[in-house]
């Protein structure tokens, strides 16, 4: 049972591009060695570049009309006005005043047409970049990023997902990439399960018994060898390191001014944890904010939730920028879909996947850009239509990951983004 998931050699083009970027042009001169050398050389180059992702997941589906694609004055527009942003020509909802002054590192995409508008399937679609397929358990974005950007023996987690609301709680899965890339999932507590030592064992004893285990494992390894045993050992060898990362989840270690900067809401605190995590080298952090599913009273709901989003996203971007890590950190706001332009009888908006918006900020993104267009009532995309695969291709490209890369799952090559996906070059730096 060898590892069924192997990576095809990267194409010559991407190799050259990335090798050039990593300053290893000497390597590239010897093309005869590419097939053999390409992958490890590249992976190392990429992984050392320290790129990270924070996904702010707007669970339940935020309204594009009350956020990034307002239509005031139209029958579908709702009560809120639009405001001019710091980027000439871009206007967003008045519910996002802080973000309106901070679009310089952010791209807005207004032309998602993802077609699927039920929570379960759409969640899978937007968290994997493709429609679910019964015979293929496709990894979620966090697992893909963890696999592509994570370090093998990292002392920090690869993939942390925070979701404290009980509504629509959905845990990401590493699918065919294997349990190594499953998320550390935070639900009831702000700290992952089993990361803290029990009081009944001293730290010295905890370490002693881990060393005893390592010794017994090494005895076994004298006679037995298999990649599965290596994975087992590496999981146990990461335990002590991960336990030392528990402080990353402790925002009391931040100065009061920094905690004030993110604010007292749970979402704000989680964003602060997310920043602490990416700063320490965690490649992927997802913070889910619920519950945007405003079938009734859409406008009150968005007044409240947008204020939280606006404040926390602005605080996060400011902080990342001040620390000089925004250029290596991609911040995404995304949900499973948007909301109907039509306002229903309960003053709500329903599920809508035909013309909705998301944002990308920071790493690899052309700041202040706007892509795609919906019609005057927001019913249809009229320019730059994108599907989930295109968005994923854009995300991977922003991070320097070849979006056409393939995994071998058993005997089947599976591309990291769905067939025929194209990155949106207009928003890439």
């Amino acid at each position: 049972m060898s590892d069924p998931i192997t990576t095809n050699s990267l194409s010559r083009r991407s190799w050259l591009r990335l090798a050039g970027a990593a300053g290893t042009a000497g390597f590239a001169a010897n093309m005869s060695g590419v097939e053999v050398l390409a992958e490890p050389a590249l992976t190392t180059a990429l992984k050392h570049s320290g790129k990270r992702v924070i996904l702010l997941w707007l669970a339940g589906g935020a309204s594009q009309l009350e956020t990034w694609d307002p239509k005031p004055g139209r029958p579908t527009g709702g009560p809120f006005a639009k405001i001019q942003t710091c980027v000439p020509g871009i206007e967003i909802s008045e519910l996002l005043p802080k973000m309106s002054t901070r679009l310089n590192e952010t791209a807005i995409l207004r032309s998602l047409n993802t077609k699927i508008a039920d929570h379960g399937t759409a969640y899978t679609l937007m968290d994997t970049g493709r429609a679910p397929e019964p015979s293929l358990n496709f990894p979620h974005l966090g697992a893909l990023i963890a696999r592509e950007l994570g370090q093998r023996d990292s002392k920090v987690p690869d993939y942390v997902a925070m979701y404290t609301s009980t509504e629509g709680r959905r845990q990401g899965t590493a699918g065919f990439l294997g349990g190594r890339y499953n998320p550390m999932f935070l639900t009831d507590n702000m700290i992952p399960a089993d990361i803290k030592r029990l009081e009944s064992i001293s730290d010295a004893d905890h370490q002693d018994r881990a060393e005893l285990r390592d010794f017994l494992a090494s005895m076994f390894a004298r006679q037995h060898s298999h990649p599965m045993y290596d994975a087992h050992n590496s999981a146990y060898q990461r335990v002590r390191g991960l336990m030392t990362s528990d402080h990353l989840f402790d925002i009391d270690r931040e100065p009061q001014s920094m905690r004030d900067h993110y604010g007292p809401t749970q979402f704000g605190q989680q964003c602060l944890i997310a920043r602490r995590l990416v700063e320490a080298g965690v490649p992927f952090v997802k913070v889910a904010r619920a519950w945007w599913d405003s079938h009734g009273q859409n406008f009150e709901t968005h007044q409240e939730l947008c204020a939280d989003l606006d404040h926390c996203l602005a605080a996060l971007l400011d902080d990342l920028k001040a620390r000089g890590i925004l250029e290596n950190t991609l911040v995404i706001t995304l949900g499973e879909f948007g909301r109907t332009p039509k306002i229903n009888g309960s003053l709500g908006r329903d599920h809508f996947a035909s013309a909705w918006s998301c944002t990308l900020s920071g790493c690899g993104i052309r700041g202040g850009s706007l892509y795609g267009k919906s019609d005057k009532d927001g019913q249809n995309v009229i320019a730059g239509e994108m599907n989930a695969g295109d968005l994923y291709a854009t995300i991977f490209s922003a991070l320097g990951i070849d979006h056409q890369k393939e995994y071998m799952v058993g005997s089947r090559p599976v591309p990291i983004t769905d067939f025929d996906s194209e990155p949106c070059y207009e928003v890439l730096a």
């Binding site: 397929e133 005895m219 298999h226 599965m228 335990v239």
Partner: protein, 565 residues
Amino acid sequence: MWLDYHSGAQLTIASGVLPPHPTFRIQLMRATLTLCGIIITACGLSSAADTPRDLARLIDGHIDQKCPDGRQAALLSESAFIRRVTLDLAGRIPTVAELEQFRNSESLNKRVELVQRLIDSPDFAFHHRNELDTLLLRRLEHNDQWRAYLLEATQQNRPWNQIFREIMLPEDACPDDARPATFLRRRIRDLDAMTNDTSKIWFGVNVACAKCHDHPLADDWTQAHYYGVASFFKRTFQTRNGSLGERFDGRIKYMTTDGDELEAEFMFLTGKKIREPKLELDEAKLKEYREAIKNSEKDDKAPSPPKPDFRPRAQLVDAALADTEQDFFARNIANRIWARMFGRGLVHPLDQMHSENEPSHPELLQLIASDLRAHGFDLRRLRQAIAMSDAYARQSRLLDDIDPPSEHLFAHAVPRPLTPHQLSLSFRIATSNPKELTGLASQNDWEKQRQELERQSEGVARQIEIPDDGFQVPISEALWLSNNPQVERDYLSASNNRLVGYLGSIQSNEELVVAASKSILSREPRPEEQSALVRHLESKPDHRSAAIDQVVWALLATPEFRFNH
């Protein structure tokens, strides 16, 4: 891709130079035996094995013939063998009492007797139930009723073709029992899931690719096959009270990659098409029946819906069982059982039975599939035969072989992660007081005990990842074993009926370490391990009970415990 072999040629070479080495002579005898097997096959008596032992010999003949001379790993030690075979047939590690009973037996036939005892044990049915639950339902849901049904089936050793009929056609096979319908009920709203999962699980064929285009690698699977199989499920519905039925009409239309719209035919994987007779119903009657079906879907008090004469799903069941030519049904389960025991299938991956992915040992697969068919799809018999073979009892790859034979030759064992139930049960067994929990060695009420162990281990089992190819132990598991209070409470408790409590009563550190190693790893410690573990105990004279905890924990956290090797 696979080496073709000609038994005659091999024999000539072998008989030309007769080496004095005894193992070689045994191999030669086997080759001769296999030759007989082949002759028998040629005469059309491929299932000539009478007993499981005969079948085991035939299996060895096939494996030996393909394996390069002298490259087969040695047979397992007694301790290693009882661990492997107890995991495979009872779904747990052996108790210390079972280990000692086996090692102390002076019977020349002790392996065969052990296999027989395990096959006849109550453990076998529980273990087989757990495996079937995972195969059929994965974790789509946990359903105690369904698990009870599967347990009844495995306790009675119900034939596999009968289980297939009960699960795929419950309304005919067991109309008063709602439990077996769970397999389809769980997928009823998803035609693709019914189509794909049925093909994969029961026939070893993954047709999912062929939904959108003809299979890119295997000419065997076209869109016509995909929609052909899907057609058999198109009319299936569920009544409000949970039974299944089929509608009177409904066909699938699909687009080909060339953009033509076609109506799917009822077509099995072999290409066999089933013609639907013309529906002899007038419009009014058809409308009435449709209404009745609709009512039964909405109202649990509605009368049973009418049954059409032509029912596609019933046709699928018949077609699958009648296919003795390509024999997907028998070959699939034979291959899955093989993979359960050997860590990989004769066809691998297990859902890739097609002409571009030949079995490593085609005659062998044919042999065990035919044997299953000839013996009433008795899955126990095949497992028993495999467990009795030498091929099954080989060591896993050793490090000193720098270029070991490929896994598909089965010259050495392929390590396998324990399944969630195997692991959870084994944690329980390993950490019990070995004097109290003796298992099959002496416990009269063992079946009840085993049932209790199943119950106790269920919670942990559900948290453990189901291993697939390329399995990696997730970090969450290592963190859980390292820091979860449940581990301390359940596995490291110092009460008298648990291992830690028992070890605390042993004065000598040397004896303590031996007892811990036998309970957890089913073997004595090696000298270096012995001294390291004793040293650990000696280093903490002030808190001996904590030191014992640590020894037990370290042994539980080894790869040696986590895998079947």
